[in-house]
Amino acid sequence: MAKVHTTHEPVILMSKRGEMLPAWKAWGIRVIAFFLSLIVSGIVIMMVSGLNPAAVFATMVDGAVGTSKRSWVTVRDAMTLLCIAVGLAPAFKMRFWNIGAEGQILVGAIASAACMIYFKNLPTPILLLTMIISSLIAGGVWGFFPGLFKARWNTNETLFTLMMNYIAIQLTSYFVALWENPFGSNTVGVINSQGKQGWLPNLFSDGYNKDFGWNVIIVLTVTLIMYLYMNHSKHGYEIAVIGDSENTARYAGIRVNKAYVRTIVFSGAICGLAGFVAVSGASHTISTSTAGGRGFTAIIVAWLAQFNSVVMIIFSFLLVFLQKGAQAIASTYNLSQEVSEMITGIILFFLLGSEFFVNYTIRFNKGKGANK
């Protein structure tokens, strides 16, 4: 006969929420998580470095948005990141794991740089348009092959897109060598630094903040288009259905393979456009670090925003803000970059963890259960 077991009652009870939380509550939880993460990272900073956390946070804010120049750099980088994340959205929504944004950015950047170098005599609007189109095509081509192989032979797109990155990096090295300027520097240097051909022009200038605005307009337009595409277009609907269940998609008469190729080409093209934004709107040069890991960071942005391109605006700003802030801490207090990366890690941990509280409720057992 079974012995009667005496375990203690669980103190914490977790259960899936019966109904969905209203949006404002869900966002409330996320905001609370953000502030909690600041407190925890403050404690960590104190323990590790003995510095006053308030001062450290102030440095972060100062480093990210302390001057209008810094604000602009933060905005500019956030826009590039946003563009990549927006590009990833359709692929990821379809459960096509596009890890190849790095490569798609690079080939887009190469295409833009090539236009700047070889067509610098074209009138500015036409040159810019050529750059945009060629970067879109380059990124699209980079997405086309993994998509085609996935559709035809069901190859693993994660590995395929990842390996395409290495090809793109090698290709970039080749072009850097080809376009080397000045000779022997092993860099391309600032392209068209005299005439500024192919640079995104100033939208409004406050003297030294060059190129202010156009990145923002291009990327926000793309974001808006993507939002409409994903939520209101027939293609967007196909993507959502395929992402949920391929069988349902086939059942509904969706040609899944065609949709795969089309979507990944689109996704790659937008990532290629991010390469254009990075070259023409920011660095005006190209190197193997033009993508700089942003193709991966953007995956976090896309997931955090649950593939909603408008929400991605918030998260790309947050991530870039943290990055800039972390760099500022590192240089101001002579801390190693790792400490500042820890802070980013803590904040991301809290943000991702908060999703649990959005989906589950937690209650504490008052211990009445057993002795009625």
Partner: protein
Amino acid sequence: MIALASCAIKMENVTKRFGKVVANAHINLELREGEILSLLGENGSGKTTLMNQLSGIYFPDEGQIYVHDKPVTIASPKDAFDNGIGMIHQHFKLVDVFTATENIVLGLEGEGKFDLKAASAKISEICEKYGFDIKPDQKIYDMSVSQKQTVEIVKVLFRGADILILDEPTAVLTPQETDKLFDIMRAMKKDGKSLIIITHKLHEVLDVSDRVAVLRKGEYIGDVLTKDANQQSLTDMMVGHSVTLNIDRPEPKDPKPRLEIKNLTVYDELGVKRLDDVTFTAMGGEILGIAGVAGSGQKELLESIAGLYPIRSGEILFHDPEGGTQKDLVGMDPLDIKKTGVGMAFVPEDRLGMGLVGTMGMTGNMMLRSWRKGKGLFVDKKEPEQLANTIWKDLEVVTPSTSFPVRRMSGGNVQKVLVGREIAQEPAVLMSAYAVRGLDINTSYTIYNLLTAEKMKGVAVIYVGEDLDVLLELCDRLVVLCGGQVSGVVDARKITKEEVGLLMTQHRKEGA
């Protein structure tokens, strides 16, 4: 509720909430020593939730559980086992590449080296005692559904359970297998075990149990001795008001060939023949039932017709009710079929994995059939929204809104959404696979009535079912499948259940 025999399990005032939803409200349930208790209730009435609190999956918010009259705390599946409670879940939790023995001992704790031989011997002993037909060293992937279920039962017996809970155990079994399971349950009862069976099928309740406890909307309605109950009285208790239990079967209306299947043969990905020279005709204005043991080719047949399964040879001829020429659907995908103007509705077996998009609400799911409509890049959401609202109202779907994800609805409501959408297409052919699987009685009858109404509109309805009683009451003709072949096309009004059962296991003689 005065217990004469002592209680194997007594639940006192048990309450379980999920957020605002009260799944179980102050339930008092008794399982007497050595009895078989049926736990009966509509979809979402809280049966499984209640049992999960006995098996340690959920912990009650309020209330007390007694096992053999001693108060206990069951906070984990391990606690449940320590108290001798074993639950056989609806979905088997077995490792396919392991043997029966390996699955049974999986997760057991013990000192030193584990003696697999001794375990194997003990399993053989249990099997012999109750007449189970599994071998300890047989791999799970070699087993039939019923054998897998047996492994689950042996698993809990092996761990010394004397209280067994079976969650809808007959949902996946043939009539013969069900009978065998009931014999096993009776043998276990004779051996002094106490059992709870959760089921929707009333004739099974009456067949196997000693007492019936009824839940409705999370509340305990009462219990009756099985000998004092009948189908009608149980249904009334369960639903709360009187329900008619007879399926209305009008004569077929002007039956004319609608879909002619000729010599259809298909192979699966691994090159195994799934359908072998299948020939039959589905008429407009009748319900054609497809009977057969699970996995006899039902799924492949419907998917072939729907354009979702590669066809090796044969013809699928569609006769347009509006007149015109016959169309061969072989080689078309669902989009081609739609473009050809064939009104084909399909309620697949895998509702959320094929028929619906789980993460979308009703409106998004209505769009599955209409999203391509209209020119231009953008989808029209207004029409699907209206359709969703109509179905929501007409079929009494329980959902907070038309945007609430369907996968979070209960099974019956999911099926209403799916069937409602398919009927709204005004099809010429309506195929359904296991349309009432897992549904409560009320919803099942709603579905039967909807199908019959389609039949009276002149639609060719194809109904793949597993409950022979229903097939014989609902359908006009039956096609019996056995191992991918048609073993008989019979008049459902004239044939008996036993004869169909024989056809289901009898292969057609070759040659002749």
